[in-house]
Structures are given as structure tokens and as C-alpha cells.
Amino acid sequence: MNDLVKRSGRGIYVQGNDIDTDRIIPARFLKCVTFDELGPALFYDERFDTQDVSKGHILDAPAHQGASVMISDANFGCGSSREHAPQALQKFGFEVIIAESFAEIFQGNCTTLGMPCLVMDKAQRKALASLVGHHPDAEFLIDLQAQTLTFANERFSFTMKDSSREAFLTGRYDPLDELLVAHEAIQAVAARLHYSDQSG
């Protein structure tokens, strides 16, 4: 078993359905040629007013500093394909996201970055969110193999997209090396397809 399978860390609940990638990282922060500086811009317009004064968002609550597990609600990460969104979450310090459901491109981007997206039903998530609020210092123990999560002596279950879970279990969440192995098969498909030459 590799060290990707078992995760631990403290949690935070960021409430809301349909939290879109523009909220996770407003477009003006996309003006960059690397992802390195994105962490502080996470949820910027929800956390700060136009004068950069804190609005007291839960991400800035002292009790939750250093949290690495984010819990949210349905359709998390909808909208744009911008990898800036999961990059900002990761650079801010998050390693695992739990939600009722995820937008597809966002979920794929998270997997490639080594950040598992855990799907948890509403009843369990509600209970977990409440516990996290009462126990900001308590540690999550997450097992991707067993698909279980333990927190404050309570046990929860989750699901994952099969291919994503498998990627973590095998330690191959970045597919590129495997894609490149198929060099000859790629050439064969390219040769078989009758694409017209489009070069100008």
C-alpha cells in the first residue's frame, strides 16, 4: 500500500451547492504563467471585500487554520475547466475534498494533482460538517482502500469514481508516463484515421 491511500488532517466545512470555479478562484487571478502563487487567492471575493479587508470567512477562522480536508455540498467545482481552481485549493493546503457530487472536469483535474474527491451522501455529510465545526482540532483518518473516514470517534463511508480510486491505489494518479508507453499504438491510431491535413 502506498502513502496516497491513507490520508489524515484537520477539516473545514465550506457550505454551499454549485460552488463554481469562478468563486474558488476569480478570473483576475488567472493572469499568471505558473500556478505557484494561487494559494492566497482561494475564494478571494468570498473572503475579502474590495478593500482587501477580511469578511470573516470560515477559511480565515483561527480554529481552522491548517485544515487539509474540505467538506462542501453538491456540484462542487462546476463551471470552468481552469486547473487554477484545484491548484489554488492544493496550494492553500487542501489535500482531500469531500462533497455530495463534483463537476467532472474539476474532479479529473483534482485526481491528476493527487487530490482525492470523496463523494458522501447528504445525511453523513451533514453530521460530519457539524462535528467538524465542534472539533476543529480533531484529525480525520481517511482510507481510500476501505472507503471509510473516521472522525471524532465516528465512522463514515464515502465513494469515489472507480478510475480515480484505482489511480490512488496504484499510485499512478498522473497518467502521462503510461500514456507515453503506448507510443506505437498512438501512431497506429493516427495513421488509421483519415484526418485531412489542416496545416496552413
Binding site: G16, N17, D18, D20, D22, R23, P26, A27, R28, K31, C32, V33, T34, F35, D45, D49, A74, N75, C78, S80, S81, R82, E83, H84, S101, A103, E104, I105, G108, N109, T112, L113, K161, D162, S163, S164, E166, A167, T170, R172, D174, P175, L176, E178, L179, L180, A182, A185, I186, V189, A190, R192, L193, H194, Y195, S196, D197, Q198, S199, G200
Partner: protein, 471 residues
Amino acid sequence: MAKNLYQKVWADHLVGPLENGQFQVFMGLHLIHEVTSPQAFGMLKAEGRHVFHPGRTFATVDHIIPTDDQRRPFSDPMAERMMAVLSDATEMHGIEFFQPNSGSQGIVHVVGPELGLTQPGITICCGDSHTSTHGAFGCIALGIGTSQVRDVLASQTLAMDPLKVRRIEVTGQLAPGVTAKDVTLHIIRILGVNGGVGYAYEYAGDVIDVMTMEERMTVCNMSIEGGARCGYINPDQTTFEYLKGRERVPSGAGFEQAVIRWAGYASDPDASYDDVVVIDGSAIEPTVTWGVTPGQALGISERIPDPAAAEGLDQELMTDALRYMQLEADAPIKGTKVDVAFIGSCTNGRLSDFQAVAAAIQGYKVAPDVRAIAVPGSVRCAAPEEEGLADIFKDAGFEWRLAGCSMCLAMNADKLVGDEVCASSSNRNFMGRQGSSSGRTILMSPIMVAAAAIQGAVADAREVFQLEKTS
């Protein structure tokens, strides 16, 4: 066995299975732009990799480009830097780049079809969620993240999970003044903003069949707003006629052969689907949004819904949306004051969109307190400026800008200020989307934006322009 288009294209482009249960799929066309791709070139460099097939990747600049003055260096130093990085990378790797002075620059999803790069039966990907637009041609077109842009640059393939296919049949005939944008907003309203997760949408039915390619692109463009990663329409005579004579499409005998090949990708009549939804097109009204997701939409004659009728988080979502939008439950949406009108974007920034509006607005003036801007999706669709298109917009009180994404996502200087309300032909009404953290967006068709601009408030274009009489 009978197959649908998605299954045919998948089978043709399949390289093989991967260890984690995904599949490796060949990407025929890769489109890149300055926001999501420079980082991928950085990753390639850091990992010591090279571009596998530069001839299958094409670049344009759209998100950050100014729409007032596009001379280099751009006035925004960070925009200039992004442009420079993309320019250098494409030059180094031998990738064709449609620069602002090339005569072909524009929004990536406008440029691809215009040039004829987008063709039936191919796979397309781009680091942009609205890549679904290209599916209008009967191809599988996917938005991807930057790490996947790297994967495609390095291998010309992607690791993918197969999607299910939902056929959405829009039956009947649209009423006069009802457009493709109204159809797509209506579909998202019914199926929800996450109803399409895990699906490719196949749009079909009489309403889709009689649409132009531009209208089909508007419908497919918004697939992602319904949670579907891609949407497509089976290729037909309309598709082939659009492609004929385009710059990157074969001509003569090559074209005839291509048409036979393309037609073969259309879903077989007895193909099976994971889901089928039938929607009555004749019942669709001009549709606008009232909230902060594209699914929070209503017909122009309807009243804003009351959160009291909803439950749990839905109720909270609606309440939050109304608070953000500063709108009242149960009030009519018609008459909502607007400050800004924006016509443009990859959803509705094509030549035909501007032509349709130009045909209606002659003799009308934008309301004095409304800032109205028209931003062509590409240099080519701005080209008929000599034909008087720009003058018609200017005479009516619109600013006529240079090509780019502009106020759809406000990465350049085109932004809302404070809590301005924008009647917008774009695709997302998310909080803060148009460049102000309290800015408010009401999505609608271009002709509805024009009507709102003239009235200074959300209006029914059919009444403002007497569309029912003239159509």
C-alpha cells in the same frame, strides 16, 4: 450493432485500456490559448518532454486580449507576459498561432469552426470548458485541465472514462423571436446545472434539425453549464454546407470523400442511449436568468420564483441568489433595470448573432444610462465592418470592439463596476463572473440583450422589435 455518434468516434480514436480502468483516447485536434496552456509548456520543460505532434495543435489568444487597443505590448503587463509566453512556446515547438495580426485571431471556439479546423467525427480538446461548442459539427469535443493540456502536447492522447449518452429531442417549432440561446437555457433549467454530469448530450429533434451551424454551436456551447462535458449534434447537410470552402477543409474530390466519411459518424437510427429526454420546443419563451447559475432561469413572462416553495439547501441557494441579485421573489423579471449590455462571447459572439441584432436595432437607440458593448468573437466576424455592421451598432449607441472574450469573464479591462446589472449574451451568471465581486449578470440571447439595452431594463424582444409580426 447500431451505434450512436459518441460510440463511433470513441471506437475510432481508442488507443487502448489503462491500468486504472480508464482508456487512452487519441485527440485529433488540440486548441490552446493563453490562460490555461503556458503552464503546460512549463511542465513539459520541467519534465524534459517534447511536443509529440505540433501539427495537431493550434493556438489563439482570446481571454486576456484588450478589445480597444491590441497593439503590443498590451497595456496590462501581466496580459503581455501571458501573450509573450504563449508566443514563444508556440514558436519554439512549431505550433501555428493565430496572432492578432494574422487575420484569424479570435475566441478559440469561434476560430476553430470558422477556419474549418472543427470537423465531424474527430476528437477535439482544449483547456477551456466551452470546448463543447465544437460538438455542433458532430465531433467529440472536451474541456480539459492544464495537466491534461500537457498530456495532449506530450502524447496527443488523453486518459478518459467513457461517458453515457443522453439524447435530448427538442420537438416542434420555435415561436418567432425564440432563439438557440433560449433553447439551451430552457434545457438547463429543466435538467439542472449538474444533470449532465457523466453524460455526453446528443441534441436532436425538429428544432435542432432546422438550426444553422451558428445556432447549433450556441446550444452545444452551454452543454457544460448543464454539467455535460460535451454535447453534439449529428452531422447533416447543414454541417457539410457550412464546411464547404472553408480554409482548412479539403476541396474538390477530397471534400466529397470527406462528406461520405463524416456522414458515417451520425448516430444510427436504431442506436441506443442511456437516457432520452423530450422537450417541447414550441413551448419555449425567450428565457433569461434570475439567479447566479444558468439553471436559475425563467421565461420572460414569468415571475421570479419564491424560495419558500423550495427545501433545504435549494432554498438557501435561491435565497442567496436573490439576495446577491437584489431581486424580489414573485416579482416579474421583465422591467428589471440594467446598467450594461454585452453582446459577444463564444456562446453568442458569431457573425450571425451580430447580423440578427443589426437587422432589428436600426432606428433604435440604447437607453442613455446603459453602457452597451458589442464584441465580435473573431477578427473574421468583425470583417464585414465595411458592410456597415459596425456602423449599425455604433449608430444605435453600442461600442463596437475588437475580437476577444471580453466581458464574459472580464480578464481584460472590460468589467462591471460595483453591483451593476449586465444583460449579457454570454454563458455564466456566477457571482463575480463579469469582473466585479458584486456585479450581477442576467443571461439572455443577443436580441434580448439588444432589447434590454434599448429599454434600459429586461424586456421582451418580441414586443420591442415587433418580432411576432415580422417573422
